[in-house]
């Protein structure tokens, strides 16, 4: 732990990124103790309230007996702490549950993307120049030239009933475009590593291709794979936010993008409801910035030469 802290001092991007992400994770997990899940959905409470504490319930907290009852009063009092929207959702509950769900969508897309990217990238990088490699690179080139988000719109709006998409389905849809970039990046890393002496050595000692990929190349590229995962999760969150911003997905859910969709739908800015705008925007910025910082920081871990250059 001490060693890690000392390392983070030399690599502030990683430190900040991990710190902010940890904070958000705490917010969306420990935060659940202080809110009711129902408050994150419409018609939970009085609409259009600016941030306040409901003192009525706070007073009752002293009167009721037992820990559970006291906690329930506290939750009711906390409902409007972050304000409420015009459908009567408590924004605190909405953000607590929404942050976790949004990150989950991104993580599903990211993990699928990295999974496919690792397999395709390693195989086509190790067997560079083969037919398989040629097919993979051509497909990746074509996919990367098309703006991924527009393809996501096309798929999401035609494949299923877009209003019913849940967290897992949202993640699956976004993962359609999230594999191409990791494939290209991992392939080029593998290609540069393929010519190193230790791989030659393994080849000479009679290891097979798949064995070299699994035992020699993979462990050496682990930091790079983790960095690609952070990038991929970032891409997944971005893609799903965009779709939600257009109202694609289950609009009743408190996902961050859906909160943005509704605040635009009910023109929160025309009513001066600053809390409804600034709070989700703030959380989105923190979430995306932390993921970017983490991938910057891990890039330094994966390519130490970058650090010395800058």
């Amino acid at each position: 732990m001490g060693e890690f802290l000392r390392y983070v001092q030399r690599n502030p991007s990683l430190g900040w990124g991990l710190g902010i992400l940890l904070l958000l994770l705490l917010f969306s997990t420990v935060g659940r103790i202080f809110v009711n899940k129902d408050d994150a959905y419409a018609l939970a409470t009085i609409p259009d309230l600016p941030p306040t504490l409901d003192s009525e319930y706070l007073d009752k907290m002293g009167e009721v007996q037992g820990f559970q009852a006291k906690l329930e009063q506290l939750r009711l009092a906390m409902r409007p702490t972050f304000g409420t929207d015009s459908q009567g959702k408590g924004l605190l509950a909405s953000l607590v549950y929404g942050t976790g769900m949004t990150l989950q969508i991104g993580a599903i897309a990211g993990i699928i993307g990295i999974g496919i990217g690792t397999i395709l990238g390693f195989v086509s990088g190790y067997y560079a120049g083969s037919l398989f490699d040629n097919i993979v690179t051509s497909i990746v080139d074509v996919v990367l030239t098309m703006p991924g988000f527009l393809i996501l719109i096309l798929i999401a709006s035609s494949l299923a009933d877009p209003d019913e998409l849940e967290v897992a389905q949202m993640g699956l849809i976004v993962s359609v475009t999230s594999w191409a970039f990791p494939t290209r990046a991992i392939r080029s890393q593998v290609m540069s590593m393929r010519e190193r002496p230790f791989v030659m050595m393994a080849k000479l000692s009679g290891m097979s291709g798949p064995e070299i990929i699994l035992k020699e190349l993979m462990p050496n590229l682990l930091p790079y794979l983790v960095m690609s995962l952070a990038q991929s999760v970032y891409g997944g969150v971005m893609g799903s936010l965009g779709l939600q911003g257009l109202g694609i997905g289950d609009r009743r859910q408190p996902w961050l993008g859906m909160t943005i969709y509704w605040l635009n739908y009910y023109a929160a800015f025309l009513r001066g409801m600053w809390w409804w705008i600034l709070e989700p925007v703030g959380v989105i910025i923190l979430l995306l910035t932390s993921l970017t910082l983490i991938s910057f920081g891990l890039d330094e871990v994966a390519n130490p030469r970058v650090r010395r250059r800058v």
Partner: protein, 336 residues
């Protein structure tokens, strides 16, 4: 050699367009949703036609769109029409073609995205060059965190904050639309044109803010690399002036990789503008797309997506064609 390079790029361009067209055709066939049936059932629900008339209507509408023929024939038919830039009709307002809808809205998108891309390129590149230049004042590095934050955030989220603070609170810019509701539309009137520009500023600003970071950080990294090169040390040893070193030696050489990243960035900025337009109710392609999603007007959705994909692929192709002229070091044998 040169011909081979051009042919490879051309094959790639065709590959992208073919893939986009095939996706457009394939997706609705895989989907459980039927745009025609959905549209007509909705109309029936509103106008109250009888059920047997419904079957008839669906059949006749499907025949109209050629959906009653065998699949392979439909596919070839679709490809043939795509080759002639015929993107079909809007299901919603039938006699209108998708091409007409695109023609109405494309100029708004082109104006905003074009201006934003050019401005972001110049501001970002210059800023990045200064950030990477060792002799720049240290205070400039305070710009890096905000650049990174803007770059990491989606444009429509930035747009919301801009709408709230600059348009609603400070009243510096209009809240939405392409021009004032009560102004006479006259494209030769300077007052009207100024009004149009005024309305385009905030959407463009949100796109510029998110893309400056990408250009800037990319340029900074390249500048740092270039600065370490031997010819820079030599030029410095010759006693050349700082400005000459900066512009003629460092910036010029660091600039080239920026141009190759244009294709990727165009994709990002076009996707970004789709949402920004929706949030500003700006009448470009993004808003059209959003309306079509709301009513599930599939041919309009796929038509606009196809149009944008083709546009970006064509721009990339043109950049690829110009690039070897800018950088004589690039070899034609194996394109990069």
């Amino acid at each position: 050699m040169r011909l081979q390079y051009i042919l490879r790029r051309l094959a790639f361009l065709i590959g992208v367009i073919w893939t986009a067209a095939t996706l457009n055709w394939l997706l609705p066939h895989l989907a459980p949703r039927d745009p025609v049936v959905e549209q007509i059932t909705q109309q029936v629900a509103m106008q109250g036609l009888s059920a047997d008339a419904l079957e008839e209507q669906i059949a006749s509408r499907k025949a109209l769109f050629g959906l009653d023929r065998p699949l392979w024939q439909q596919y070839l038919d679709y490809m043939w029409r795509i080759l002639h830039f015929d993107l079909g009709f809007s299901i919603n307002n039938y006699p209108t073609t998708v091409n007409q809808l695109i023609a109405q809205s494309v100029w708004y998108t082109l104006g905003v995205v074009g201006t934003a891309t050019i401005l972001a390129f110049f501001i970002g590149t210059l800023l990045g060059a200064l950030l990477g230049w060792q002799k720049s004042p240290k205070i400039l590095s305070a710009l890096i965190p905000p650049l990174m934050i803007f770059q990491a955030t989606p444009a429509f989220v930035i747009a919301l904050v801009l709408i709230y603070y600059l348009a609603f609170r400070a009243k510096l810019f209009p809240l939405s639309r392409a021009w004032d509701m009560f102004i006479t539309v006259d494209w030769s009137d300077i007052k009207f044109l100024l009004n149009v520009v005024h309305h385009a500023m905030l959407p463009a600003l949100s796109l510029i803010l998110v893309s400056v970071g990408g250009w800037g950080l990319g340029m900074r990294a390249m500048m740092v690399t270039v600065e370490g090169d031997d010819y820079m040390t030599f030029a410095e040893a010759k006693g050349l002036k700082g400005t000459r070193l900066f512009f003629r030696y460092a910036l010029r050489n660091a600039l080239l990789p920026q141009i190759t990243s244009l294709a990727v960035r165009l994709g990002t900025i076009v996707s970004g503008s789709t949402l920004v337009e929706v949030y500003f109710q700006y009448p470009g392609l993004g808003s059209r797309l959003n309306n079509a999603i709301g009513t599930f007007d599939y041919y309009v959705i796929s038509g606009i997506v196809f149009f944008l994909v083709t546009g970006i692929a064509l721009t990339t192709f043109l950049v690829d064609m110009v690039y070897p002229l800018l950088d004589p070091r690039i070899s034609y044998q194996r394109g990069t």
